[in-house]
Assembly symmetry: C2
Homo-oligomer: 429 residues x 2
């Protein structure tokens, strides 16, 4: 892939090359009202300011969407508009831009619209109506199933026939950088004892789950479905997602209706939405599925997951970071279009801004598992961290950071930036 070079300085190592241009919601000290922006190198382009100059007038859409506190209105304009806006911005920033007067030769607009990213506050980019978490990381499902039910019953009979999913909690989805408070809850100190009597305690087995998230840009009415052939065009773009999990609370509460308080104390997303088009060059096949699928889940082309290099670091308070795992976005049994087709096949209405989580993305090799539960084999084997400390589960003061990136510096990186959160102690109740 030839690199898209820019007249604007973009560090080669930046996740936000001209090949990316992800969208987010920013505010600044001098402009505290949240508004839309695009990340580019170490900067971001304030789309409210930029569009006010008439820079998008040739595209013929209403730029009021860039003055909103979420990207929902922009997302709702549809994939052709997202594509045209991104392409136009690539033209504006291209080394040999055909439209140098728009920004390259316009120092006033540069001054007003280009802001260093370390000067902005980032917000949850979408108003999320509903959040659904899937379980499409087959290796994770198998690993966790082994821990809970043994290898013979690790995967339920339905697992390869449909993307298993459940409703999550939209209100506790937060943006990278938001502190995560360790949850209190009911746990069994000795799960083997009878009778089973829980104690009330701060979670002792606080974990991460490495996931991708997808935002919906186009909904469907109650009682109708989104066909698999159209599902990709209903997706606005992608973020990293940390589905923080309280394993001890989960083990006690989750039968028979699924995880609840074990998940709803916080779910962290990366702030920049990487458009579906930016990931297009990195489409690949996922985990092969030998099970014949019902037609509503059958994709014409089976390249609908993405080759995204994923990394998770833990940084204990006052210690250097340690990379505890590397995984890849390809380790999914079902694609997001399949998830969307399944989600709606019974008539459930999706809305712009709805968030879908992939499920935890684990590889097959040691060091590629997407949760501490798997890495430590259920808390039996500690992970050694730099600085001579070790972890089975997270401690207060730990910061966990996810990274995800596609491509090469040569072609221009397409990355997600950081998805990070620091653990705060549980409150006294």
């Amino acid at each position: 892939m030839a690199s898209l070079k820019s007249w604007f300085p973009i560090p080669r190592s930046s996740h936000f090359s001209l090949a990316n241009l992800p969208f987010g919601i920013i505010s600044t000290a001098s402009g505290p009202t949240p508004r839309a922006a695009v990340a580019i190198g170490d900067h971001c382009l304030d789309l409210q300011e930029f569009s006010a100059s008439g820079a998008f007038s040739s595209l013929g859409f209403d730029v009021a969407c860039f003055s909103k506190p979420t990207l929902n209105d922009f997302a709702a304009l549809g994939r052709p508009v997202h594509r045209a806006v991104r392409k136009h911005l690539q033209d504006v920033f291209a080394e040999n831009t055909s439209i140098p007067d728009v920004l390259q030769h316009n120092p006033t607009l540069q001054e007003k619209s280009l802001i260093r990213r370390d000067q902005v506050t980032l917000h949850v980019p979408m108003q999320i109506g509903d959040y659904t978490d899937f379980y499409a990381g087959k290796n994770h499902a198998f690993n966790v199933g082994c821990l809970f039910r043994g290898p013979d019953n690790a995967l339920q009979p339905n697992y390869t026939h449909l993307p298993v999913g459940y409703h999550g909690r939209a209100s506790s989805v937060v943006v990278s950088g938001t502190p995560i408070t360790r949850p209190n809850g009911q746990i069994l100190e000795n799960p083997a004892a009878t009778p089973k009597v829980p104690i009330f305690s701060p979670c002792r087995r606080l974990d991460i789950e490495l996931e991708l998230g997808a935002f919906v840009s186009k909904g469907n009415a109650l009682g109708t479905n989104i066909p698999i052939s159209e599902a990709a065009d209903h997706i606005f773009g992608f973020v990293l997602l940390n589905d923080w999990s309280a394993r001890d609370i989960q083990a006690w509460e989750y039968v028979p209706l699924g995880p609840f308080l074990a998940k709803n104390f916080g779910s962290t997303i990366s702030p920049w939405v990487v458009l579906t088009d930016a990931l297009e060059p990195y489409r690949c096949t996922g985990i092969p599925n030998d099970t014949p699928l019902l037609p509503y889940l059958e994709e014409k082309e089976k390249k609908n997951v993405y080759d995204i290099r994923l990394q998770v670091d833990i940084t204990p308070e006052g210690q250097p970071p340690t990379t505890i795992l590397n995984s890849n976005g390809r380790h999914l049994l079902f694609s997001f279009p399949q998830m969307l087709a399944h989600h709606t096949v019974g008539g459930c209405p999706m809305a712009v801004g709805d968030l879908l989580g992939s499920g935890t993305i684990s590889g097959l090799e040691p060091g590629t598992e997407g949760s501490l539960l798997e890495i430590t084999q259920g808390g039996k084997q500690a992970v050694q961290l730099n600085g001579g400390v070790e972890r089975k589960f997270l401690q207060d003061g730990d910061t966990v950071t996810f990274y995800g990136v596609c491509g090469t510096e040569e072609s221009g990186l397409v990355g997600f930036g950081e998805c990070s959160g620091k653990i705060q102690p549980a409150p006294k109740i």
Copy 2:
């Protein structure tokens, strides 16, 4: 209880006596913009019109909340304001009102603000951020647990220690009268066969669940909790809730993460929110719980469920209605304040407008079970309906209507009106 008599004609059999005054969102042919109203007898009082006359000026709150398309802003004003507004309206309508000039002697305002209820369109009364469905109907949990797992494992060990709940789908909560489309989905024709290979089919075991819903009027921040002692004041009011359920889809999909497509094709609520204060005289004790509770769930006074007479009718197309069950709101093991205290104990943030479902409310006697699954013992024993027809599960064209009411005609009924939906055929996919 002495009846509150009114100068305004209120039929004795009306659910909407002066002792009730529930809030909803209406629109009319001549006023198509949704706005707040209170139901009274066969009429409703348009609160936008009524408040514009200055009728609430003595109460000192911003009446702009009554011009909004949901009750969220009114709910957010808090229970003291809800109480004062209801009390003021009771004064306005009282037989010997001390303020006859406000409405009784004001035919112009009567003309503008009192609308026959059969002339209004009713809307979902709240903007629902998140919807959580609990499972606090112990008799139902036991009955269903027996069908799925046998009597020895019917209730999981956690069941009496905490209100089991799971996240539902907010986008498919609809108001009474909205048609419900039979969902398509994956079902096992013969669950006993191996290997288990699902077919794609319209749901064949379409069911109801008789529940109460509670709306949140006051939230909490991420990482904080709502103490049990304050939880009641975080509840705005109550509605009837039909948690339509596709039993065959559910049986196949629900392991290990809980119900998903089996529930998210539609959940119907009654349109009028009965305030917590209106139900106050009907507080009673629920199902006794012999399990000692952790302090965060321990209520000082154990009278926090309500003596609400519940009834469910089925009306097949072209047939008369048949009452298939009678139950009571008292058949709950946990109260809504306990649900709210549990929901937030790990730091999950609630927001104004969030909806909590009680779980299916079944009694112990035959004829009091809150779902067809229980009534028909898993589809084995048909229910005989008037007109010579029978049902194991719902057929296309069936209308299901829930009713709920407290008190007597003597004291003035406090009721919920109807919570109704008609089954439409599944679409061809």
